[in-house]
C-alpha cells in the first residue's frame, strides 16, 4: 500500500501497462511535455515519443486515428485534455469506435481508452467544466469509467487499457491532487462493481466521481445526527452495479442519487428509474435525485457555485427522505 495522488496513480497505471504490453501507446496534444495537467510527466523519457506521442490540435483525428490503430492491433490511449474538447470527436467515438465491432459483425475490436477529464475546477467556465458521462452511458458499445479515488484511478485505468472495447475514462479535474492509499501490485479493477464507501441502514446514497466525496462528507454530518447513510460509489456507469444498488436500497428503503452533472436526463435518472421500477414496494420514501440545474457553468465563482452540489444540500435531502 502506498499513498499517492489521483494523478500519480493514473500515471503509474499508464506506465505499468505500457511496460506490460508494447502495443499500448498514448497520443494527445503536449504529451511529450507531460500533458496539460502533467498526467504523462516523464513518461516520454521511458517510452519515447512514438509511444508517448504528441499530436496536432486535431481531436477528430486523434480519436479517429486511434480507432484505426486499435482495429489493427495496437492499444491506444487517447488524451482529450478536457472532456469538452471530445465534443470535436463525437462521430469518431460514437459512430465509429462504439459501433465498429458490432457493425462489422465481430470482425474487429476497438481496444481504445479515451481519457476525458471532466468537471468543475477553479472558474473554468462553460466550455471547460462539463460532465457528460450520461451521454456515453447511453451509447451501445462504450464502457464508461468515473473513478473517484487514487486507488480506483489506477485500478480502473489498468482495466480500461486491458479492455478489448472502447472505454470512456473520465477523471475529475478537481481530484488530481487528492491523495489516498493505493494497493501495491497488479491491482486491476472489475468493471461494474460499486464500492461501498460507507455502510448505513437508513438510506442509500449513490454517487460517482468527485461527488462521492461530497456525499461522504454529508454522510459524516448525518451520522452525527443519528442518520446512517450507506454511500455507494458506482465507479463505472456502464456497466453499472445495479445489483449492489438494488441490494442496498432493499435494505435501507431509501435512495438518494448525487451527481455533479445536470440533473435533467443525467445518469442519476437511470439509477432512480431503475430503483423505482424494481423496488417500488420496498421503498419507504420516493427515490430522489440531486444534480445541477439545467444551466451552463459560469466563470464567476459565485455563479459557478450555483451549479456546485454541497454537502449541506445532500444532508438536507437525506433528512427529508428519512423523515418520510
Amino acid at each position: 500500500m502506498a499513498v499517492m495522488t489521483y494523478i500519480d496513480a493514473s500515471r503509474q497505471a499508464v506506465a505499468e501497462e505500457m511496460r506490460r504490453d508494447p502495443m499500448v501507446w498514448a497520443v494527445g496534444e503536449d504529451l511529450g511535455r507531460g500533458g496539460v495537467f502533467g498526467q504523462y510527466k516523464g513518461l516520454v523519457d521511458e517510452f519515447g515519443p512514438d509511444r508517448i506521442s504528441d499530436a496536432p490540435i486535431s481531436e477528430s483525428c486523434i480519436m479517429g486515428a486511434a480507432v484505426g490503430a486499435a482495429m489493427t492491433g495496437t492499444r491506444p490511449i487517447v488524451e482529450m485534455r478536457f472532456s469538452d474538447f471530445a465534443l470535436c470527436a463525437v462521430d469518431e467515438l460514437v459512430n465509429q469506435a462504439a459501433k465498429a465491432r458490432y457493425m462489422f459483425g465481430g470482425q474487429t475490436r476497438v481496444p481504445l481508452v479515451v481519457r476525458e477529464p471532466i468537471g468543475m475546477w477553479r472558474s473554468s467556465a462553460a466550455q471547460h467544466s462539463q460532465s457528460l458521462e450520461a451521454w456515453y452511458a447511453h451509447i451501445p458499445g462504450l464502457v464508461v469509467a468515473v473513478p473517484s479515488t487514487p486507488a480506483d484511478n489506477r485500478a480502473l485505468l489498468k482495466a480500461a487499457i486491458r479492455c478489448d472495447d472502447p472505454v470512456v475514462f473520465m477523471e475529475h479535474k478537481n481530484l488530481w491532487a487528492l491523495g489516498g492509499d493505493v494497493p501495491d501490485g497488479d491491482d486491476v479493477a472489475e468493471f461494474g462493481k460499486a464500492r461501498a464507501v460507507r455502510e448505513g441502514k437508513d438510506l442509500t446514497i449513490v454517487s460517482w466521481s468527485a461527488a462521492v466525496h461530497t456525499a461522504t462528507e454529508a454522510a459524516t454530518t448525518l451520522a452525527g445526527e443519528g442518520i446512517e447513510a450507506e454511500v455507494l460509489d458506482l465507479r463505472t456507469l456502464w456497466p453499472w452495479d445495479k445489483d449492489a444498488v438494488l441490494a442496498s436500497v432493499e435494505r435501507t428503503g431509501r435512495l438518494l442519487v448525487v451527481q455533479e452533472a445536470v440533473s435533467v436526463a443525467g445518469f442519476g435518472a437511470e439509477v432512480a428509474a431503475t430503483v423505482a421500477e424494481n423496488l417500488h414496494p420496498a421503498l419507504k420514501a420516493p427515490v430522489k435525485r440531486l444534480g445541477a440545474p439545467r444551466i451552463p457553468i459560469s466563470y464567476a465563482p459565485v455563479l459557478e457555485d450555483q451549479v456546485r452540489i454541497t454537502a449541506d444540500a445532500i444532508a438536507a435531502a437525506a433528512r427529508g427522505l428519512v423523515k418520510t
Binding site: G68, A69, M71, D91, E92, G105, G106, T108, P140, D164
Partner: protein, 335 residues
Amino acid sequence: MPAGQSSSASNLDRERYVARFREMCRIREFETAAIAASNEKLVLGAIHPSIGQEAVAAGVCGNLRRDDIILSTHRGHGHTMAKGADALAMMRELFGRAGGTSQGKGGSMHIADFSVGMLGANGVVAANINIAAGAAHAIKLKGEDKVVVCFFGDGAINRGPFLEGLNWAGVFKLPILFVCEDNGFAATTRTKAMTSGDGPAARADSIGIKSETVDGNDIAAVDEIASELIDEARRGTPRFLVARTYRLTGHTSSDPAPYRPADEVKERWLNDPIENCRQMLLTAGVDESELSAIAEAAAKEMKDAYETAKASDWPEKDLAYVDVQDIGDPRGGAF
C-alpha cells in the same frame, strides 16, 4: 514513365490487364445484380453503385498485397471486391443474410472484410480518412511492411477529417496512399459548386502530401501510377492520387439523377472504363472471345451469387446481442 500516361498497347502486360478486366467485369456485374435486387426489395438499405468507376478500384487494389489495408466509403463494393473479398459473402451481406461478410449487420454501406485487409466502408463521409491514418500509424509503430489505401470521393475534401487526416499522415510520415475518386458529384450537387480553390490535388500538396492526378477511366494509367505511389507510400512517404472519373448511375440505385443533363450522361457512357479496357486489350491482340468469356463468367458468377443470397437464411435473432462489447448486459431496461 510520367504519371498519368498509360503504356502503349504494344508492350502491354496482357495477363495483368486481362486480370484487371476480369475484376472490373465482376464489380460491374455484382452491382448490376445488387441494383436488380434492390429494385425487387431484396436488398433493403440504400446502395451506392460505383458503375463507371471500376478502373479506380481495380487499378489501385490490384497493386496491393493481401495483408495491405484499404478503407472505403458508402460507394465501396468495387474496392472491397478488388481487394479480394468473396462476392457471395458480400451479396449475402447486402441481402442481410447469414453468411454475409458482417453477418448481415452492416449491409452495403458498412461492407467490410477484415480477412483481406478491407477495414470497412463508412456511412459517414470522410470519417474513414482519420481511421485510415490510424491504421497506417499502427503499421509504423509495429514496423510492418504494409501500406494503407484510403478511398474517398471529391465531396469528402470539404470535411475536416480531410485536413486532419492528411496532416496526421504527413506529420508522422505514415505508409498511406489517399485516393480521391473525383466523379464530379456529391449526391445531387456538382462538387465544384461547393468547393473553393483548385480542388483535392492542390489541397493535398499544401498539406505536404504530394499528389498525382490520373484519368480514372484508363485502367492502365491508374494501375501504373498506383503501383508507383503505393511503393513510395509503403516506404513511409504518404502520397495522394486524384482519379478523375464519373458516376454513371444515380447517387443511389433509386436516384434517377434528374439534376444532370441526359446528354452529359450519354457522353460519359462512351468513356466506360470497362469498354476502354476491352478496346485496349483488343488492340494489344487479346482475343475478343476471351474477353467475352470473361464478361459472361462474371455475369454468371454474380447471377449465382444473387440466387444463392436470395435463398440464404436470415441471421439468427440472437446475433443481435452478440459483439456489442465484452461486458454489460445489453438487455437491461429494454422491451
